[in-house]
């Protein structure tokens, strides 16, 4: 909601990225969410990541469904086109948009209601297609915009503001994504910008479907005691497994990592993800082990976070590889490359005589 447009006067001392842009250039309209809403922190992290990647604003396409979370696409990168579609159906819009122009970066922002209830089917099928996009779930365990009903990610035993207790097991998007063959699966927390920003950067650069499930407390309807998606609970039961530092191709790795502490994965565009495993046993390249670990932690009420799984091998073809479409975006092919022409029609008709 943009009753007010933010003034964009950049202070000369603000740091600038490779394009000469300040963070301000990646902001959007003023947020109309509740003060303290986790979603606003994620917006800030997206701004930071886009700035950090020196993304050309017009090359970012922002897609969303309906919900408090879905509104946030208006609050960052106002220089990129946004498509705030209908409830739960953003993945199909993303699929079509991506099919038309594979050269842009696609970021989808959704809520747990938008993704796991009404949108569950489309979400799963976008993963199955390995659609090249970053999909962020701003997961608060409730329907914020419609005032606090449980969503399908609400944990068993979690209490609604009105006192009702949820008895149905949650659908976990991370497990689902692992099962369905997603090639980049991460979880984070809106309050942990240090973890979140590099994940967003890496997700944007990953070729294929990148999921980041971000726990994002709803201060109005689900931040009370007894809620497993509250700030307090999340902070405490939050177990980082694999930290990721993202280094764009254009940049050197600058941080010092102790021996054996970090491993490096090179993405298709030459960028690197430096993985730091907090638990030597954990292998973010093993899909089944990752799923097992997620489940194990979950059963003791913990959220495993970080870059949980990554397949940077490129073995699983993304949507355009499956479709065998050319590098030139379909929307830029000249008509001449598309029409068979009048002569060819003659030949075609011969079959129908």
């Amino acid at each position: 909601m943009t009753f007010i447009t933010k003034p964009k006067v950049a202070h000369p001392s603000l740091p600038r990225n490779a394009l000469g842009c300040t963070r301000r250039d990646y902001e959007g309209a003023l947020s109309t969410l509740c003060a303290g809403c986790g979603h606003d922190s994620i917006t800030a992290a997206i701004v930071e990541a886009c700035w950090g990647l020196s993304l050309e604003p017009q090359n970012l396409v922002k897609l969303s469904g309906i919900g408090c979370s879905s509104k946030t696409t208006a609050y960052f990168v106002s220089g990129g086109h946004g498509f705030n579609s209908v409830h739960g159906r953003m993945p199909s819009i993303a699929t079509g948009a991506n099919a038309a122009n594979r050269r842009l970066s696609y970021i989808g922002v959704s809520g747990d209601g938008d993704t796991l209830s009404i949108g569950l089917g489309q979400f799963c099928h976008a993963i199955r297609r390995n659609l090249d996009m970053l999909y962020i779930i701003e997961n608060n365990g409730v329907y914020g915009l419609t005032k606090g009903q449980f969503s399908a990610s609400a944990d068993v035993g979690s209490k609604a503001k009105k006192g009702e207790t949820n008895l149905q097991p949650p659908i976990d998007p991370v497990l689902l994504a692992l099962d369905l063959g997603a090639t980049f699966v991460a979880r984070s927390f809106s309050g942990d910008k240090r973890q979140l920003v590099p994940l967003i950067e890496a997700g944007l650069r990953h070729r294929g479907f990148a999921l980041i499930d971000v726990l994002s407390p709803c201060v109005t309807f689900n931040d009370h005691e007894g809620s497993t998606k509250s700030y307090a609970y999340t902070r405490e039961h939050y177990e980082p497994a694999v930290l990721a530092d993202f280094v764009p191709r254009e940049r050197e790795i600058t941080a010092d990592y102790g021996a054996g502490e970090a491993s490096e994965v090179i993405l298709h565009d030459g960028s690197r993800i430096v993985l730091r495993k907090l638990d030597a046993d954990y292998d973010p390249g093993d899909r089944r082990a990752a799923a097992a670990r997620v489940q194990e932690r979950m059963s003791s009420g913990e959220y495993l976070t970080g870059l949980i799984y990554l397949d940077a091998s490129g073995e699983r073809p993304e949507f355009h590889q499956v479709s065998r479409t050319p590098e030139v975006p379909l929307n830029s092919l000249p008509y001449e490359a598309l029409t068979p022409g009048a002569k060819a029609l003659e030949k075609i008709l011969a079959r129908y005589r």
Binding site: Q58, V61, G82, L333, L338, T339, L345
Partner: protein, 608 residues
């Protein structure tokens, strides 16, 4: 005794699906076509894969009438399960061919028709071996019988087979053997040809036999569509199949194998239309094809597209409703559902092709209109047009054609702008300018189905909201002038027929009959919604207009009532909703009954 009916009769072939008769039927139909005689073939098949009754009607019409005639002159009754009704259907004086391998006394109940028994199974069992081969051969063998009875040219048939099985010459021989078997038997046992027969003419030159779905797909290829997303549903599936196979042939880079199109089998129709909107929004020509249930599922997204002004092309190949209905029967039952799809104040541009030729041209038109008007355009074909073979004039293409992408600002124009506003009516025609992602940050805008101002910002303000909603009505008025114009026939009578789509061929034949009987009557075929000036004028100029359509609820009449100035009393419905294509006789009889009745005064009957 039967009168001789050269090049003017209808054959109906009753078989069981999944047994190979489809090729025999096509062979017969095409060999008639190739002898220069106008012909039509209509397939009535069940909604299963194998083992249920199926019929094929071939109408041979030297005058070029390609609708159902409403009578059967020669029945080939090969399905014991439907013998009883098949026998009944033959016109008095007509013929019936059956497989006399087994005695069928029931078939002899009609002294007024000639019954021709041919031991098809027996002959094929003797000649061929293997269960499957025997069945297949039996179902090609009758083509030989008919060739003899109707005097079709065997060489022409062999030629057709050779084309079909270009890669499997052995099949040509075995099929020809079976055909010869039937042919010889018939010539030995019956006087050939029958009084019904085919004599070569030259009325099919410059024509093709094609189904509407194939033609529509070809239109999409030529229109430059690149993103096709769909979910399988009868009878729309063959449109998408055809698009894919044309593209596989015509749009694949021979060197790299790369495809200049994306073909996406979506998880359902909600996703299919979502993909089309995403692609169109992003600057690709994109479309989907579906049928009634899919339209119902697309309702929410169609409302978004209308309000957020996203182009899209949707083919609705109508089948019998409501609900799942009869998936393999035809109807024009989605007129209202498409025109006003979605909640709130919405209305959509619809095109109504009448035959495969128009499917081709209207496919192109649909893309131009969708981008021009920035709104979904629905092309309402139906099973009859889409899946049956129709004789059409050759499709033509002008290489000078360039897609009309509508009001899309390019980079240079954007650079010149001070600020870009998505929904402002700069030109007074109700159509705003749009931009594409990836071009320039200044041109970025936010697309939403929630309330927005003409500048693209979110709003909950009444005045701002109404500015946009009112402009959409101006755009609607512009659409009236841009959509395909109706086609009128006749002049100055006080009676008229108004119709649309696949009813056309039956009506044109009916007109000839009616005029032949001295009934002066004009005809207007509506080709698009919204209606324009000419529709208004036609309705105003006629004392009484018969509205012919293929649904129960008089949906075209409803649209005319709502969207033109016509007095309701001037519209009289002729409704055909059996699931079979309307026949010319239905219309002739309907009109005659009305004008003969003492109450020939117009009266308001919503459901005739």
């Amino acid at each position: 005794m039967t009168t001789r009916r050269v090049n003017d009769f209808t054959i109906k072939i009753a078989t069981v699906n999944g047994t190979g008769s489809a090729s025999a039927n096509t062979l017969l139909m095409k060999s008639i076509f190739r002898s220069g005689v106008p012909v039509m073939g209509k397939n009535f098949f069940p909604s299963n894969i194998q083992g249920l009754p199926t019929w094929y009607e071939i109408r041979v019409s030297r005058d070029g009438h390609v609708a159902r005639s409403g009578r059967v002159d020669l029945m080939v009754a090969l399905n014991p399960e439907t013998y009883a009704r098949d026998v009944k259907e033959v016109a008095s004086g007509g013929f019936l061919v059956y497989d006399s391998t087994w005695p069928r006394p029931a078939l002899l109940s009609r002294p007024d028709i000639t019954v021709i028994g041919v031991p098809l199974a027996q002959m094929c069992n003797e000649r061929f071996s293997g269960v499957r081969t025997r069945i297949l051969m039996k179902n090609i063998c009758y083509a030989g019988v008919l060739a003899a009875l109707l005097s079709l040219d065997l060489e022409r048939i062999r030629g057709l087979l050779a084309e079909t099985y270009a890669k499997k010459p052995a099949l040509v021989e075995s099929n020809m053997q079976a055909i010869q078997l039937g042919y010889d038997y018939a010539r030995q046992h019956f006087e050939c040809p029958l009084p019904l027969s085919v004599e070569p003419m030259d009325r099919t030159a410059g024509h093709i036999m094609i189904d509407g779905n194939t033609a529509a797909a070809l239109g999409c290829v030529y229109a430059g569509a690149t993103v096709a997303a769909w979910y399988p549903i009868t009878p729309s599936t063959s449109l998408m199949d055809a698009f894919k196979s044309f593209c596989d042939r015509l749009r694949v880079d021979p060197e790299t194998g790369l495809r200049r199109f994306a073909f996406i089998q979506a998880e359902d129709e909600l996703a299919a239309i979502g993909m089309v909107l995403g692609a169109s929004w992003n600057g690709a020509r994109s479309f989907t094809a579906t049928s009634g249930p899919g339209i119902s599922l697309m309702n929410e997204f169609l409302g978004l597209a209308y309000y957020a002004e996203v182009p899209a092309v949707i083919f609705d190949i109508q089948r019998v409703g409501p609900s799942t209905g009869m998936p393999t029967r035809t109807q024009q039952g989605d007129l209202m559902a498409c025109a006003y799809a979605s909640h709130g104040d919405t209305r959509h541009v619809c095109l109504y092709p009448a035959n495969p030729e128009e499917c081709f041209y209207m496919a192109r038109e649909a893309f131009d209109l969708a981008e021009r008007l920035q709104t979904p355009v629905m092309v309402l074909s139906d099973l009859d047009i889409g899946m049956n073979d129709w004789m059409c004039p050759d499709l033509e293409w002008d290489d000078a054609y360039r897609p009309d992408r509508g009001k899309v600002l390019g980079l240079e124009e954007i650079l010149k702008l001070e600020k870009f506003h998505r929904y402002v009516d700069k030109d007074g025609d109700g159509i705003p300018w749009r931009t594409l992602p990836g071009v320039h940050p200044k041109a970025a805008y936010f697309t939403r189905g929630s309330g927005h101002t003409q500048f693209g910002a979110y709003t909950e303000d009444s005045a701002d909201y109404q500015v946009v909603l009112d402009r959409l009505l101006r755009k609607w008025d512009t659409a009236k002038k841009r959509v395909p114009r109706p086609i009128a026939d006749g002049a100055g009578s006080e009676l008229g027929i108004v119709s649309l789509g696949s009813s056309d061929s039956a009506i044109r034949e009916a007109l000839a009959v009616l005029r032949g009987r001295g009934v002066a009557i004009d005809y207007l075929r509506v080709r698009a919604f919204p209606f324009g000036e000419e529709v208004e004028r036609f309705l105003a100029a006629h004392r009484l207009s018969f509205v012919v359509e293929q649904n129960r609820d008089a949906q075209l009449r409803s649209l005319l009532t709502l969207e033109t100035a016509v007095e309701k009393a001037k519209l009289r419905s002729l409704l055909h909703y059996s699931g079979l294509p309307v026949s010319s006789s239905f219309i002739v009889e309907g009109v005659l009954a009305e004008i003969a009745s003492p109450a020939a005064q117009p009266q308001d009957i919503a459901h005739a």
